[in-house]
Point group: D2
Chain length 338, copies 4
């Protein structure tokens, strides 16, 4: 290893820009040579800010660019699978934002192309790279809490997305809970056998009218007899609330929310502390950087990315089972091949 990796970014929206900034400024092993967006102005703006030499309005041309060793797919979900296939066929390594797709068949087709081409694929479940959650996983993996019995995941956004976004989001389970499905897999390294999901529209009735929910409790059962509960809300007024807890035969590891500083104000009426970091840009600041470092390192050192295509597929399966459970009011069994 010694050469820089040539990287092309597809999609110049918020997340594309964030990755561009991290790659350009903080990952010297990467050389971002191109950015593509159908909104060419957005691509140009990002290119200027991050000193990216080549700009395309057509992802295909970026993929074909011989300077590009690896592509980041940060465009809208409905384009993910097709772009994975094109990139794989062009022999380019791939980082793709979650979810791969809303259809298992389409996902399978994309993963097949990746396999055939022998390129690397990493899915953007960035929370695995959060220092707190990584510490929880390492603690569990090191056996410090013994055999895991229960996982509790709290995952609440500070405010609901626009109703237009809700309508194309795939629903709460595939848009928001999908991260938590990945988290419980990451924490325990074991697959579930049953899922029971409940949901309602308590935050904003418009969300309900759009056929979605904004509040949910999902319980997962493992073959081993362990359990996981996930609670979601589209609106925690005090900010982004992202906590996990794993309880086992020898102890319990609890990860709470980080705050902008560690401060306590005591007055006659109360003791006051800072609110959590407001939203994912602040909270997952480090994890976005670390996932990109991991991807570049995997490409450069020819190792296997920690978040595989299969890791991208299974949470979608779980999300679909959750949706079925919500609709039928019954637990749903789910078999995940080894």
């Amino acid at each position: 290893m010694s050469e820089q990796i040539g990287i092309g970014i597809i999609g110049a929206g918020r997340i594309g820009q964030l990755h561009a900034d991290n790659l350009v400024c903080r990952i010297p092993q990467a050389n971002v040579t191109a950015i593509a967006d159908v909104y060419i102005d957005a691509a140009h703006k990002c290119a200027k800010q991050c000193h990216i030499p080549n700009v395309f309005d057509e992802p295909r041309r970026l993929i074909e660019d011989p300077q590009v060793d690896a592509v980041l797919i940060c465009s809208s979900t409905n384009t993910h699978a097709e772009l994975i296939i094109e990139a794989a066929q062009a022999g380019k390594h791939i980082f793709c934002e979650k979810p791969i797709d809303f259809q298992i068949k389409t996902i399978d087709r994309a993963l097949e192309a990746v396999k055939k081409a022998g390129v690397k694929l990493q899915i953007g479940f960035n929370r695995r790279f959060d220092p707190g959650f990584k510490h929880a996983r390492d603690t569990v993996a090191a056996g410090k809490i013994g055999v895991p019995h229960m996982v509790r995941i709290t995952s609440r956004d500070p405010e609901p997305p626009p109703i237009e976004y809700v309508k194309v989001s795939g629903g709460l389970f595939l848009d928001m809970t999908i991260h938590d499905f990945d988290m419980c897999r990451y924490l325990l390294g074991e697959e579930i056998s049953r899922i029971y999901a409940q949901g309602s529209s308590l935050v904003n009735p418009e969300i309900g009218r759009a056929g979605d929910i904004d509040t949910a409790i999902v319980t997962l059962t493992y073959e081993s007899g362990a359990f996981c509960t996930i609670d979601n809300s589209r609106q925690a007024v005090y900010g982004y609330d992202q906590r996990v807890e794993v309880f086992g035969s020898e102890g319990c590891i609890i990860i709470g929310n980080p705050t902008p500083y560690n401060g306590t104000l005591c007055t006659q009426s109360r003791v006051e502390q800072p609110l959590p970091l407001y939203f994912f840009i602040e909270r997952y600041n480090v994890s976005f950087l670390e996932e990109m470092r991991h991807f570049v390192k995997c490409v450069q050192e020819d190792t296997v990315p920690a978040v595989s295509g299969r890791d991208g597929k299974i949470p979608v399966m779980m999300g679909m089972a959750a949706r079925e459970s919500l609709e039928t009011g019954l637990p749903v069994s789910i078999a995940i091949a080894g």
Copy 2:
């Protein structure tokens, strides 16, 4: 009424002694005149320690004692309903440990007797008097977190009871979760419409062989669309873990575990803090005293106890529904008359 209340205690076990000690030493409005236990030595021992003048081996005689205005029923569960009926018929006010009984029919018979006699009945759901949980309830009731959307209850014992106890306990849901069923009712003041319970035997296989579980996740659904999850374990190796969280449209109130002191040790390898108070005697020390103060006050001032006979019955209904859900693997609907 300003005179002291004459109190007789039935049952000189651990909980009977605890109430005796609180009444004698810390509640001057109470005058404990008698204690009864079929194990007469236990009764004598407690009487001596707490300066209680009269000792009976026969609860009936204590109930009939004209010095006794109110009885505390601290004997084994299978005697509760019968003693309630006898005490009610004798016109005595009643404090009864939970659960009233494992049969709804029997409970109804006891409550009917109480109603007919017009005496007071308070059930020993002492956790309502815990300063932290009371603060949570008051915060919710004052509207400080807006409309409640989700409740999370963690309730884990430091060690499982002896297997002999497990066999007669009525099962985890009626022995342990029953407190949590009461807690969610206390926190929200609203009844549930559906229950889904999962359980397994992960702590001690003997518990499984005895037909019970030692680890459980229960989710409750409210008509309003709100949810509650309860997680139970018979063994948290770090001590008694009793936390609640209520999340609503305007905020979240979280109650954690108290510790014996507020201390932090920083060394080269770690930052260390004290374990939670070990078990219920330490953790609910204040709440046991406060529930007794409340009972004595209600008798003395002729007001209605905060934990009614109905409050004793509904958690048993919930426990039975949880058992049914566990057995069928399906959610169970439950209708609780207003």
Copy 3:
């Protein structure tokens, strides 16, 4: 050991009543047979509340009472030394509230009498029995923080005492800081060699006009090169603020304020936690009980009380040195015989 200890209490004020209550209700090894107060009504009131059979208006008669094995001296400071001498001469064991006296000569006379009579003497530095501070001392003594380098004591009252009390209090250093002087001795088990005290009247100018201060910083130097700082205020509006920190070559132990419960309220504008326990009755609730248990145990088992007469004298010497430093504006050397 098997007999109960007969105890007589001199002084039926707040602290006398507190000890009476603890002894009567919670220490079965003690038998409080008498209480004395020159305000005979106060004595009668306390006697009634705590079922104390004998009441005296004259301490001397209580001391002479053959039922009394040990006396608690809870009267005003100016009577302490004389009562110690009388009790010692009568062969009674002695628990005396702090300070013994404001004059070293008088203290020496009292300690001489105790020594001559061979009775036990324990001084009421109750904070040594606080679970948090005891944990700090045990941590230091066990070598867990290595060689101590620095001690920091924060000691702030929630509100100043009445100005009449201030005038007869002996001044902040002998009334309030004296506890902290004892605390640093307790934590390190080592004597100081130099003291530098600064003070001002920032809380209430009336206190300044009465010749006292209400805010102070005291720094202590040890022969070993270690240091201690104490900060005092007569008014922390958020409640009783009593913290200690010992920093050493291998780590740091920090004791914070206990709270009535462990709770966190998160709203759009802030994260809020409970205030500390309001004042010494609440905060040192356990330590008052434990110091009394210790005294009764020492008498019963014929062992040496942990807080000796010398422990009562040295903080007074330190308080006087602090006063001298405040007046001269210079550090004061102090030699404490081994």
Copy 4:
């Protein structure tokens, strides 16, 4: 003014590189055009890493470079004053690391040159830009804790510097405490009138043999009657310990140490939390960036930097007074002209 600011960095050591990285990657308003270091290899290395076009071995040539609008002085302390003078005479704005110099006369000469040239000068007291400490200052300035009575600053390094560094450091008070002297000025916005300093060599006897101390307690007195205590250690084995507390008539604001994540591990033997961030690079990560943003903004918008030349001088005066106090064993009065 809307153009980018041309910046030249003098000194390619750790701190120079850190500023270069922040300016190049995260402050688009800055254009780092040159770097100079007498160790030309270090300059070249940094230039390559940060894409800085011009490299000089001679600071003077960098100062004269017409592309350079502002210089960062990150070289060794003994060169600061001379470089300030040269840069000022060349009409360049100046950011200078602390301390300006160890001689007041020399500092005055440098500040005179700055004044005469009418250029901007900002001193590198980066801790003023720490989110926690800034929050403390804002809280005090907003009157939320009322009139300040006491400040407590804890400032402890995780490990002592090499003994060679200690020998040329100017001593603990001018090397380490100088930051804390600035902090108390920042927090209260008021000058002190008296200083009393104690110190010893407890961490490493070599430091003592080199004529310096490694452990210190400094107390500061304000005209208003308020106090400040600073405690320093060259070695806190658990990591960088940087806390402040301001106590006032209406409350108290306490800033603690940030940690890499918010996590709690509970096991049978203990509750464990993460250590603080290890040292200043991690802890003051944000504040180094923010101070640079502030400097660039001041130059660009022609406003006055928040940390002035006078702010660079007064902590040196305080450090010298502390040294005098340590040597004489007496408090030292200090008059700071308004």
